[in-house]
Structure formats: C-alpha cells, structure tokens
Symmetry: C2
Subunit: 270 residues, 2 copies
C-alpha cells in the first residue's frame, strides 16, 4: 500500500474519479465504489481495483478495519482534501472514500445459473436505482443470480452500485442473448432445464403465493419495466403469470418492491 498526498486537481492519477456527477466513469469501463462498505466490497470482488482516493481521516478509519490492510496491500491510495475531491468529482463527496476498478467480463448465463435455485430476470428495467434495489433485495433474500433480458440499465453504473450496497459486485449476473423483440427465445432453454418461469404482472388472477405453493425446485421471477411492465411476448415464454394482490384503485407497486415481495414469498416457504 502506498499513501500519496495529491494537491493538484489536474493530477492524471485522479482521472478515474473525474467528473463523476455528469459523465460517470462507467462509460469508460470503470466501476466506482463510494464509502467504506462498498469500497470494501469492491476490493473483495473480482473487479481489479486501480486506486483508492479519500480524505485523510476517512482513509485512516478505513485502514483500521480488520482485513483492509491486506486488501489494499498493492494499491495506490491518494489522500486529498475535501475541496479537491469536490472539484475533481464534480460534487461534494461527503462519504470521503472512493475506489475505482476496471470492469471484468460478465459471467455467462451457465456460470450465473450454476447451483442456483432462485433467480430474477429483468426486462426493460432502465432505472439505475431500481436495478440497484433489486440486487440489494436479491442478496438479502437468498436469490442466487440476476439475468438481464433486453433494454436494461447498466448494473455497474455508480448509482446502481451505491443503491445495491455493493451487491452488484457480489451477486452473479449475466446477459441473455437477443434484441428487445427476440430475447424471449433465450428463455426456452431455462424452461427445458426445469426452471419455473413466473411473470410478475398485475394482470392475472393467479396469486404469487399460489404460483409458489408447491415449492418448485428452481424458480425465476420475471420483472418488467416500471410503466408498461413485461412485454406480452416475454410473458408468453413463461409458464405462469402471478400477481401481488393490490387494493382497489391503486397502482402497481414499484418494480423493485414487487420483486422483493416475490423473493420474500419464495424464501418464506423454505
């Protein structure tokens, strides 16, 4: 570990942390972690960390955590002032500790599914916070992997990483093949492989608890976008449509909340 004080906001070693507010660095192939909990999870992940930057006091506290000195042994650590970091990142980063890592190849679908019993499959989930919430809820309730259908936002975007509490860095995820109009064909092999695919939708009479009552061995919950929900073609590729009962005259739940309830119902039987 090499602690280096940096006073010049133009120092190129700070480039991974530049203009985070507007451009995000994820477009440049980086993963950014904010705050000690998530920085630690990034250090423990398969993503190769390039550098850590932070305020002196925050770095001191972080280095005093059990196991952290080993995790950062080979890494540059840049000590900066709050003002300098605000200038570089483009906003006041009160957490005071950041890490940047390079991306790694996503898992293959087969790798993500290895040993999995419960997964979620997302379609058209374009909101980074919803993606982050789904990973947080999945990790908390024993969901084993997330598969992305078409038109989803990037799970490694800074805001997704933060809202997930770093669980996007831990929980396996993979991308199903295909365009928005063809990706549903990628669901067929899952059905053939014994997965019960359950579309979460308010437009059915089947209750979620009914769809899970026989405690199937392998379950995949399909979750669609906030407004229109799952496409008809995706739902047709699943065996079951199931709803969470809603009070009359109310809208559907937020999709991450609906997914959380599905994960809960699944775990409830075990």
């Amino acid at each position: 570990m090499a602690l280096t004080h940096i006073d010049d906001p133009a120092d190129p070693r700070l480039d991974p942390f530049r203009d985070l507010k507007h451009s995000d660095q994820s477009g440049k192939g980086l993963v950014i972690a904010e705050g000690p909990l998530i920085v630690r999870r990034l250090l423990e992940s398969r993503y190769p960390v390039r550098a850590i930057v932070g305020f002196a006091a925050k770095i001191d506290t972080f280095l005093a955590e059990e196991g952290v000195p080993e995790l950062v042994a080979d890494l540059p650590i840049y000590v900066v002032s709050r003002e300098l970091l605000a200038e570089v990142a483009g906003f006041d980063m009160h957490r005071g500790l950041l890490a940047a890592a390079d991306r790694a190849e996503p898992a293959t679908v087969a790798e993500a599914l290895e040993g999995a019993k419960t997964i979620a499959i997302l379609e058209g989930v374009g909101d980074h916070e919803n993606i982050g919430s789904i990973f947080r809820n999945a990790a908390g309730m024993e969901v084993d992997a997330i598969l992305f259908g078409a038109a989803c936002a990037d799970p490694l975007y800074r805001r997704s990483v933060r809202v997930s509490m770093g669980h996007v860095l831990r929980l396996p995820f993979a991308y199903l093949d295909g365009s928005p109009t063809t990706w549903h064909h990628s669901l067929k092999p899952l059905v053939d492989d014994g997965w019960r695919l359950i579309s979460l939708t308010p437009n059915t009479e089947t209750l979620l608890k009914g769809a899970l009552a026989d405690n199937p061995e392998k379950v995949a919950f399909l979750v669609g976008s906030e407004g229109p929900g799952l496409t008809e073609r995706a739902m047709r590729a699943t065996q079951v449509r199931a709803k969470i009962p809603m009070a009359e005259g109310t809208d559907s739940l937020n999709l991450a909340t609906a997914a959380a309830i599905a994960f809960y119902e699944r775990q409830r039987a075990n």
Copy 2:
C-alpha cells in the same frame, strides 16, 4: 375554470411554484403536485388547491380527462412555456403540469384510526423518498393509516408526494404526541385499545409470519430509521419484535421495502 397565459416569470401568480428545486414550497405551507396523476389526486383531496400551471399541450390533455373539468371548475389555470416554468421552478419540469394547494390540519390519531385494521407507525424516518414509498406501498396493500412517531420527515414535501404517487394526499395520517425520548408513551393507548404492535427489526428470532400467524384483528407495524432502526424504548412499548429472514452476511432491507413485505404478509392471510 380560467385559463390565463403568463409570459412574465416575475408574475406573482406564479409564486407558489417558485424555486421548487431548492427551497420547496412546503415550508411555506403549500403542497405541490407534479404530473397529471398526482395533480388529479390533489384535486380530489381535502387540500384546497390554489392554482394549476402547465404547458398548453399538457393542460389540454389533462382537461380532456374524464371528470377533470368539474374538479378544476373554480380554479385559475396558468399556461406557460417550458422555458418560463423552468426559470420559475428552478429546473426543467418535463411533466409540464403542476398544482399548488394549501395545507390542511392533519387528522387526529383517533380520526386516522377510525375503522382501521392495519397501520404503520414510523420513528426517525427522515428520508422523503422512504416516506413516499411507504405511503405508496401502504395504499397498494390495504394499510389504513400511517402514524408518525418522533423525528420523521414531512410527508407533504414535494418529493414525498411524488414518490407516493399522491397517496400521501389520500391515506390518513396523524402525529403521535411526544419528543424523541417520550413519544413511545403514546403507544400505550393503542395497546390498551387492542392493537398488536409489531416492531420490525432484524435483531430477534421471531419471524414476521409467526407474529401474524393468528391473524390478529388490529395490527400496527413499527418501522425505524434506515441506519439504527427503531429505538429500544419504542420496541419495549410494543408486544412483539419480528424479523424478515435475511441471507447471512447481508444488511437489512431498505425500510420501505421491509414495510412493504410486512404489509404483504398481513394482506396475505386475508
């Protein structure tokens, strides 16, 4: 209804909509609704609407909705350009339709509890989005009222209203008496009145489903702040502590998600 075009950003009739990004108007005793769905819910609520403002096309569409002309019959409607509204509000308001109402006295606890079978009681929930989510989830899953213990954020703040999908304007809520160190005494009358008070906390062995297995007639879920959770003194004033099972090594759920799961479990039995 009186449609008036306004071209001058300094026009005092636009004052209720001024500088929404930074100051919010809720501090001035107003309630702000954004977008047609929530504007409509504000018009249908007990809050006296002062005025509506929007882009010409958005107002046209809104006025064509069934029932809207009657709801706005006595109200001034200001037609403005997108640029002007952005200048007045302080940010680009792509929804293009806003309404401002005066506040009304909150309900008393007795009024909020009238006929109620399921409620939530919040302590230290300081985040406006979490408050909004809780109202949205409560409305969706047949929760009858929300009671505020100490140190919660304002449910009528613009962001809470928006995240709630306007349900803070519909679902009864009331404030329990007392300071952060005394408000738990306000829980005693609820216990005496036959409510089962259930503290949601990860630090117990009792499962949520167990705490509800006998399907009690009246249930109140206590939900604490995102970090520290409920205070020990609040939990001591409840009869039961219950948890949502969590995977090992994961953090607790977001508090609005935990509340949603409790609401789901309660509704599940009915």
